[in-house]
Amino acid sequence: MNNPVLTWGSSKRARRRSAVRRLRRALLTRGGWPSAAWHALMLAFGAIWLVPFAWVVRTAFQPSSEAAGSGGFGAWTSWTLANFAHVWEGAPFGRYYANTALITFGILIVQLLTVTLAAYAFARVRFAGRGMLFALFLAQIMVPPDALVFSNYQVLNQMGLLDTKIGIMLPYFASSFGVFLLRQAFRQLPYELEEAARMEGCSRLGIVARIYAPLCRPVYLSFAIVSVSFHWNDFLWPLIVANSDTNRPLTVGLALFAKSTESGAQWSYVCAATLLVAAPLLVGFLAFQRKFIDSFMHAGLKG
């Protein structure tokens, strides 16, 4: 029994057994094999969800001659940036980027102003007709701007603002959704803060700027994320308003570019262009995943 070889053998077996046990425990303690199967299933779903995008990324970086033959399969070793260079020169994507940035942030800046003022009024000023006005604002949330695109086009036409960047921005300068979001946040601040500031001789607008707005910074950030994501991706409205490259945003530019390339050989270019358009928001999302998801959560629940 004192045979050293034997003890070594049994301890090895014991170690192996304990390793297996540990693995089992890791997999199974939370409900046995159904739980393990469930994990595997959902992780597989996650992988499937990534496939379309992964394939587009692969094609975008693949030499176009090669992609034409294999359609994304084939040699996994050849990578190139040539497709991006081709796309960048083939269509004014630089201009589209600038337009989208201008439109998106132009809208956001004006929205922050209009939304703050109205939210403060609804939260803390008792004025005649407040209830009725609030209901009127509610109506805008129920009727999404997409449904009114054609009617808004007529209005813009009457104003003579077709094919201008300001025309693309104008309908979004007010946001009922933002008003609701901020009104809720403002109402949760203690009223004593405002009273104290007023004792000190601060004007009401000063109070909004110096107390309410800074204290609700996280809510503003949520609103900004949702607003920017929405307008960065908006398509239908800019499509019908913009008629020239000076005013077209990225989404419309991408649609035009994709339509001008028909044959399969040009898929590499379309994939590259698609990545160029989607990249900024995706990068932001990957970097601040938690904040993005939280923002959309609040937006949906309160909007």
Partner: protein, 296 residues
């Protein structure tokens, strides 16, 4: 007495002043266009009749007899039936996983949610690529499964299904986050009590998680149905509503009627019909909200 009156007048002016900028833009681009559209829907105005001609409810009567409109409405209904329950069920499963998973939690959240960060028009490019005959991953899969070459977007029988698959891919992750929020609000001691009583996981799911996330399900169902009318950008890239109107959706059809056939009266009538539908859905939402969310 008069001092109080002045004070009140000043407060009213202040309140209205603060709301005015928002009200101006809402008026110009929501209320006025709505009224204008409602009025235009009662007139005949197209290329043949440049001067609006009052026809009463004639446009609506014509819509009910228009086979294309009925076809498009039917498509939209199928599109909703195909996307809403499937994406809600998937969203629930995803949230269940992303809420409790020990490993792969962030991976799951990112993998399921990222399609929402991609513009619909780019999503359309991606899926058009997947569906391209001979090239596309899904086109090859479908050809391999059916044993023949298929064009999923070119066949009126499969085109709507192909769109539905794409919509589910895009939407499920968005609905997941609402379920995540709802699941985080379920008191943990409920589950502890259940497991102390020897209840199995399955029972806890059926008796606790599903009933307590019911308001979310209702809420998500309404958003999903609304989105079935709003998500149309992909049609410009993928099918243009074809073949033979098999994939056309209401908002896209309104666009065609207005900007390609220049039939303003009919487009207005369809817009009115669509707004009425959306308001009806929102009414459902307000109904459900009253029970699930309370304002302070």
């Amino acid at each position: 007495m008069s001092a109080g009156w002045i004070e009140r007048a000043r407060r009213n002016a202040f309140g209205w002043g603060l709301v005015l900028p928002s009200l101006l833009f809402l008026g110009l681009f929501t209320y006025y266009p709505m009224l204008r559209t409602a009025r235009l829907s009662l007139f005949e105005q197209d290329l043949a009749t440049p001067k609006p001609l009052f026809v009463g409810l004639g446009n609506f009567a014509a819509l009910l007899k228009d086979p294309v409109f009925l076809k498009v409405l039917g498509n939209n209904a199928w599109y909703a039936v195909g996307t809403v329950p499937a994406s809600i069920a998937l969203a629930f499963a995803m949230a269940l996983f992303a809420d409790k998973a020990v490993r792969g939690r962030t991976f799951a959240r990112v993998a399921f949610f990222y399609p929402n960060m991609i513009p619909m028009i780019a999503v359309a490019n991606i899926w058009l690529f997947l569906y391209t005959p001979h090239f596309g991953l899904l086109a090859r899969l479908a050809s391999w499964l059916s044993g023949q070459n298929v064009s999923l977007l070119g066949d009126p029988h499969t085109v709507l299904g192909a769109m539905i698959a794409m919509a589910i891919w895009k939407e499920a992750g968005y609905f997941m986050i609402f379920y995540l929020a709802a699941m985080q609000q379920i008191p943990k001691d409920l589950f502890e009590a259940a497991s102390a009583d020897g209840a199995r996981k399955w029972t806890a799911l059926r008796r606790i998680t599903i009933p307590l996330t019911m308001p979310t399900t209702l809420f998500v169902a309404v958003i999903a149905m609304t989105n079935a009318f709003k998500l149309v950008d992909h049609l410009w890239i993928m099918t243009k509503g074809g073949p033979n109107h098999a994939s056309s959706l209401l908002l896209y059809h309104i666009y065609e009627t207005s900007f390609q056939f220049y039939d303003q009266g009919m487009a207005a009538a369809m817009t009115v019909a669509m707004i009425a539908l959306l308001l009806l859905l929102s009414a459902l939402q307000v109904f459900g909200w009253d029970r699930s969310i309370h304002y302070d």
